[in-house]
């Protein structure tokens, strides 16, 4: 016989839900987590024989030390912000879109087609068409998992993950085959875009930053002020409730995933035509994955996304300087990012729960 039930005596340590915390308490808790993680990161830096304060200082100053450094930092933040906004739409609906990477690539492919084969068009017309192509390409790529989700309830986390790699290999196919640059002397790469197909610059940075800022506002308004945004949150809360309220849940899922992918596609267009000025297999380069973390960290708030993306970019740009100054690899940005995130992931727990330790005699 198996012992049935173990509720008759409490375990030594129990987890209990705690009363709602105020916003400032939550903020304080998160700041503490970041602080502890910086200390932990410092211990790591110390362990490999460097001075943590010196490394942290270099990261900060490295991101801001010159006009060019600031421009580079902003350039890192653009794709991260845009793609985080993209996944936010899906996440709000509790649709686990891990496929931003693929949606970015799909958008970049579609935009690149016009950059490569219609570079003679009027500049602004061409940019507009490329923008639309990126938007639609990414949107359609996002629509695929949504279609199978509503039709057959296919697991979207795993399916979007597969689509990332399918998109990636489409780029390598184009690179090795039909879009191979004949002028690259045997190297398999796609030709650099004509200047006419490159994004213009404002303040020395391609206009992607204006796109990103505009999208922050658009997504904020869309989510919090429109009927469609309301539908997204209801479907995210409970599909039953949404159905009861007479919403067409399938249509909401399809529409939202189109937009989620479309924003990813815009990111791909901006990266290919603004930053790389060509299409490569690294056009997304992991941004789609980092975006998931950023969106989650920012609690799906578009303005906070902007802040978190900027902080990540400082870390990214700054560790490039750490590399040139101390000879450490840029991977230290990823290590620090990881440590910080682990602590924040852990700290979320204490916002909602607390441990209660059983006292002797079973009394609490």
């Amino acid at each position: 016989m198996q012992k049935i039930g173990n509720g008759n005596h409490d375990p030594l340590i129990r987890i209990v839900k705690r009363a709602e915390k105020t916003r400032s308490q939550i903020l304080l808790l998160r700041l503490q987590a970041v602080l502890i993680s910086l200390v932990a990161g410092g211990v790591f830096i110390l362990a490999i024989g460097y001075n943590p304060m010196e490394i942290y200082g270099t990261i900060l100053s490295g991101a801001f030390r010159s006009k060019m450094a600031i421009q580079a930092t902003v350039k890192y933040a653009i794709p991260l912000t845009i793609s985080s906004l993209g996944v936010t739409l899906a996440f709000k609906m509790k649709f686990w879109n891990i496929g931003a990477e693929g949606q970015i690539i799909a958008g970049a492919i579609c935009a690149s087609y016009f950059a490569l084969f219609h570079a003679d068009w009027n500049h602004w017309l061409l940019i507009a068409v490329m923008f639309l192509a990126g938007l639609i390409g990414g949107g359609l790529w996002g629509l695929i998992p949504a279609f199978f989700k509503v039709k057959f309830d296919t697991n979207e986390t795993l399916f979007t993950l597969m689509l990332n790699y399918i998109a990636l290999h489409i780029v390598s196919y184009l690179r090795d085959g039909p879009w191979k640059d004949p002028g690259a002397a045997g190297f398999a790469k796609i030709a650099r875009f004509n200047k006419n197909a490159a994004l213009d610059k404002v303040f020395g940075i391609h206009i992607g930053w204006m796109v990103a800022l505009a999208l922050v506002i658009i997504v904020y308004i869309y989510l919090s002020r429109t009927k469609q945004g309301y539908e997204i949150s209801v479907v995210g809360e409970s599909q039953e409730t949404a159905r009861y309220a007479g919403m067409n849940v399938k249509r909401v899922i399809l529409r939202t995933m189109f937009f989620s992918g479309a924003i990813g596609g815009i990111c791909g267009m901006v990266q290919a035509t603004g930053s790389d000025i060509t299409l490569t297999t690294s056009v997304a380069g992991g941004v789609g994955f980092t975006a998931i973390i950023v969106a989650w960290l920012a609690q799906l708030n578009p303005f906070v996304i902007l802040i978190v993306s900027s902080l990540f970019s400082i870390l990214e740009k700054g560790s490039g300087v750490v590399q040139s100054t101390f000879g450490l690899s840029t991977d230290c940005a990823d290590v620090l990012q990881g440590i910080i995130l682990f602590f924040i992931l852990g700290c979320e727990f204490f916002i909602r729960y607390t441990f209660s330790i059983r006292k002797k005699g079973g009394e609490k």
Binding site: Q2, K3, I4, G5, N6, I15, V16, K17, I48, W96, I98, F148, F152, D153, T154, N155, T157, L158, F159, L161, M162, L163, Y165, I166, H169, I170, S172, Y173, D176, G177, G286, F289, T290, I292, I293, W296, G327, L328, S329, D331, C332, A333, D334, V335, Q337, G338, I339, L341, F342, L345, G346, E348, F349, R352, Y353
Partner: protein, 318 residues
């Protein structure tokens, strides 16, 4: 014929790291935890195994270190998702970014501190890794090369896969594990220690992934350290779990099939199959996507996703 044997041997060799990753991830997913950190855990295992081999010159120690590295990184994931209810997808992705970063970082650091600015495993350990001498069985025609020509990792992987399959399908603990994956609240009510079994499965699973990582760093590049040496195999392993229907024994042939797909482009007669290389690289993911769709269309088939996959279990809310 000769070509065919060479192809099959190459398929097994290419499939072995996937086998470790897949079996490890199956253990974790069976208790309901979708760990997207396979690539990260494999990277940490790759680094721990390689560095230990480099300094101790001992193959067994290297394997143990790889297991430990993978297990410790999985422990981070387990603490965060099992005890702290952190979001599984976000935690797993973070583990991947962290793991790849840490592995590359340590690699570059060690290279900069080595005398000749490269890291190459010493001769003794590469000899230990080369192959097991089955009292001359390897000399047999056809079967000799096909069955007895591999490095110890291959046999270790097969043993682990079969043992894991036995554990999950035939032991009482395995039954409990499967119960947790389907419905943790019911399992809890039946007196199964959900938390302990979740921890054990996730951590051991991570350790197995770590050994797969060591295969990447120690075998694939002939004992020379390079950055990003897992190179996306962890993600294919996540895909393979679906293909294998969450069963370790299916992972066995699944990983060799995927291995075959990975090397197919070097062996396939291009006159018969005039596909570009990118198509062959895409194939594992394309097939997995199709498997996902087919298995969700036929809900009743035995190979279905553990019902609680991706959901954390909080006792007080059951």
């Amino acid at each position: 014929m000769d070509m065919l044997i060479k192809f099959l041997v190459a398929a097994v060799l290419a499939g072995t790291p996937l086998l470790f990753g897949t079996v490890g991830e199956i253990l974790s997913e069976r208790v309901g935890h979708l760990n997207l950190g396979v690539e990260g855990m494999m990277s940490i295992g790759a680094c721990a195994g390689f560095m230990t081999g480099y300094y101790t010159n001992n193959f067994i120690l290297a394997i143990l270190a790889a297991f430990l590295g993978g297990a410790l990184s999985a422990l981070i994931y387990a603490v965060l998702t099992v005890t702290f209810f952190a979001n599984q997808n976000v935690t797993g992705l973070t583990l991947t970014i962290f793991g790849i970063g840490l592995s590359n970082f340590v690699g570059v650091l060690m290279i900069s501190r080595s005398a000749d600015k490269t890291l190459k495993l010493p001769e003794t350990i590469t000899a230990q890794m080369r192959g097991i001498d089955f009292a001359g069985l390897g000399k047999l025609p056809v079967v000799g090369e096909l069955l007895f020509s591999y490095n110890p990792f291959v046999y270790l992987g097969i043993v682990i896969a079969i043992a894991t399959g036995y554990y999950l399908q035939r032991t009482k603990t395995g039954l409990n594990v499967r119960a947790i994956g389907e419905n943790p609240a019911a399992a809890d009510a039946a007196g199964i220690n959900v938390t302990v079994l979740k921890y054990v499965n996730i951590v051991v699973g991570g350790g197995i992934c770590g050994i797969g990582g060591a295969y990447c760093s120690m075998i694939i590049n002939s004992g020379v350290w390079i950055s990003d040496n897992v190179g996306g195999l962890g993600w294919i392993a996540v895909a393979l779990v679906i293909f294998a229907g969450w069963k370790p024994v299916n992972a066995l042939y699944g990983s060799f099939i995927f291995g075959a797909l990975r090397v197919l482009k070097y062996y396939a007669a291009k006159s018969l199959f005039p596909f570009p290389n990118a198509f062959y690289d895409m194939l594992p993911f394309l097939i997995t996507a199709l498997v996902l769709i087919i298995s969700s269309v036929r809900k009743s088939s035995g190979a279905h996703i553990p019902a609680s996959l991706g959901l954390n279990y909080f006792r007080e809310e059951r």
